[in-house]
Symmetry: C2
Subunit: 320 residues, 2 copies
């Protein structure tokens, strides 16, 4: 087994004072409309506006004294960037972050605000892994990968610990778990913990249309890449293929993958703001979009829906 429940529990013990135990909320209007009980895990209310702070905080907490002071480096479309910058700031170390030029402004600005050096790159002509590795070698910084790292996966899994604790305190046994999926770190970590606590739970990765690499890989039982000419508003979920570490975990834990369209995501963001009174970014809304658009039979069932982030540019939010 690549990752154990104990890894996730240990991660939680390590980071729980550095992160927010985010709320798990339900809403009668949505439940009545869907004829189901939906529990939304609000990681958009996490510090830095997404779950990514869990993995970054955990990874940095495990660096040795010898190397931590050389600082860290990371590449990210934005949420991992903010998380690494923030965790580095809290540990008084420096961070260099490689971000795409076209990342949402809010993500670039917040990463700066948290004190990181930002290197913008062109997603078309440049390779972020290459830039990251060069900086890593030259400056002896530790590279904090966005998902394909066992400590990062364990850190993201701590959201599952909180969900399980909350549901158990309410005597609720969930039937279905829906989680967004880019590289698959969050769904790998959380589904490992939740499947252990609730053995009959069926977990699904939810992806944007065109970026359904995990869905296809699960169907083919091997890693399949996305076509390169696709687009989506879900900027946080555009990984080209499942991770080498995350995929085997997800293959073991998940019952399958689900896709949603940008239009379904847009409508979901509006509904979540009108009914749940929360601000959600496109990538953070895909799991909710799956239940609200009947992508899976949820009637009379208890469903956990991960809301993974809220870093949406206000201009985009307004335009919806």
């Amino acid at each position: 087994m690549i990752i154990s429940v104990a890894d996730i529990e240990n991660a939680y013990t390590k980071i729980k004072n550095s992160i927010i135990n985010t709320p798990l909320v339900s809403n009668d209007f949505i439940n009545n409309t869907l004829d189901a009980e939906v529990y939304f895990k609000l990681e958009n209310l996490q510090n830095t506006g997404s779950f990514k702070l869990r993995g970054a905080t955990h990874k940095i907490s495990k660096l040795s004294k010898e190397i931590i002071n050389n600082g860290v480096v990371a590449y990210s479309s934005g949420n991992h960037a903010q998380a690494v910058a923030y965790a580095a700031m809290n540990n008084n170390i420096t961070a260099k972050i490689i971000m795409p030029k076209n990342a949402p402004k809010i993500k670039i600005e917040n990463t700066k605000k948290y004190g990181a050096d930002i290197i913008l790159y062109d997603t078309f002509f440049e390779n972020r892994e290459k830039i990251g590795n060069e900086i890593k070698e030259k400056e002896n910084r530790t590279l904090i990968k966005p998902y394909d790292d066992i400590d990062v996966i364990a850190g993201q899994g701590t959201a599952g610990v909180e969900i399980a604790n909350e549901l158990q305190s309410l005597d609720i046994i969930p039937d279905i778990y829906l989680c967004c999926c880019g590289g698959g770190g969050l769904v790998a970590g959380t589904s490992t913990y939740l499947s252990y606590k609730f053995p009959n739970l069926k977990s699904y990765a939810v992806e944007p249309d065109g970026f359904d690499d995990t869905k296809k890989s699960l169907e083919n039982k091997k890693i399949v890449e996305n076509a390169s000419n696709v687009k989506s508003i879900c900027d946080a979920l555009l990984a080209p293929m499942p991770g080498n570490l995350t995929f085997p975990i997800n293959l073991k834990n998940l019952s399958g993958g689900i896709c949603v369209s940008d239009e379904e995501v847009r409508k979901t963001i509006i509904l979540l703001s009108e009914q749940l009174k929360i601000v959600v970014e496109p990538g953070g809304a895909v799991a909710a979009a799956a239940v609200l658009n009947n992508k899976i039979n949820i009637k009379n069932k208890k469903i956990i829906v991960m809301i993974s982030g809220g870093n949406i540019d206000l201009e985009l939010f307004r335009s919806l």
Copy 2:
């Protein structure tokens, strides 16, 4: 004493399965910016989008079998309207609600959605109390007042029970409590409970400029009315004067009143959406506006901030 801690605890026992135990959240970025620890009580995440469901649910739960089936009647600018409609629907009784023609669309639509009969009136030429009393007499309905009713105040006070439980579980003793104030029911109920649990707590009513009737009344130790020619975007907080029941409670509990401008409220709504990832209506944002605009010295202090509602028309939200 008009209302006791036991009244509020009994109300909580009665209604806790009919309402959401809403989250109390903190945000490092806001805390670091303010050099303080701020705990936001998210009643915008309550069913119907505001705390008003607490009072309405409690009041209806106390109606006798003889009168409950005649239904209820209420007048409200919108949040109490939705709450009474919703609580009536859950009790299988009918509701007639008198609302101003110019109430936010989302509030009128939701009240309809919850199955109430709506009577729109002109705030300039008509008197809502008169219309309400006529319906009450003619149809033998019970009038559910928006704030000046001891069962309603006790119901709103249950938000204080949840805040105290949560803070005590975290070993936190708050220094300051800031709560929005229209007729004063929410601040009366919650400050009664919070002052009992935290005897050194200083509580303040926060009002929009021009509608600072509670602030002035506290200063004068008697009920003072607002001027009639004032305007505010805080549609939920436009009561003309403190209530006959709420004012003596607030005079006993509160350390004073604070005012904020519409412009300060607008900026606060944006900041809360960008940083806390929540949707807040103008009236629900005044307490947050007070801390974010340094209306009171909060340095190094622990502050509870009530976010009372999130029913904002998306057009207004967009226009900010």
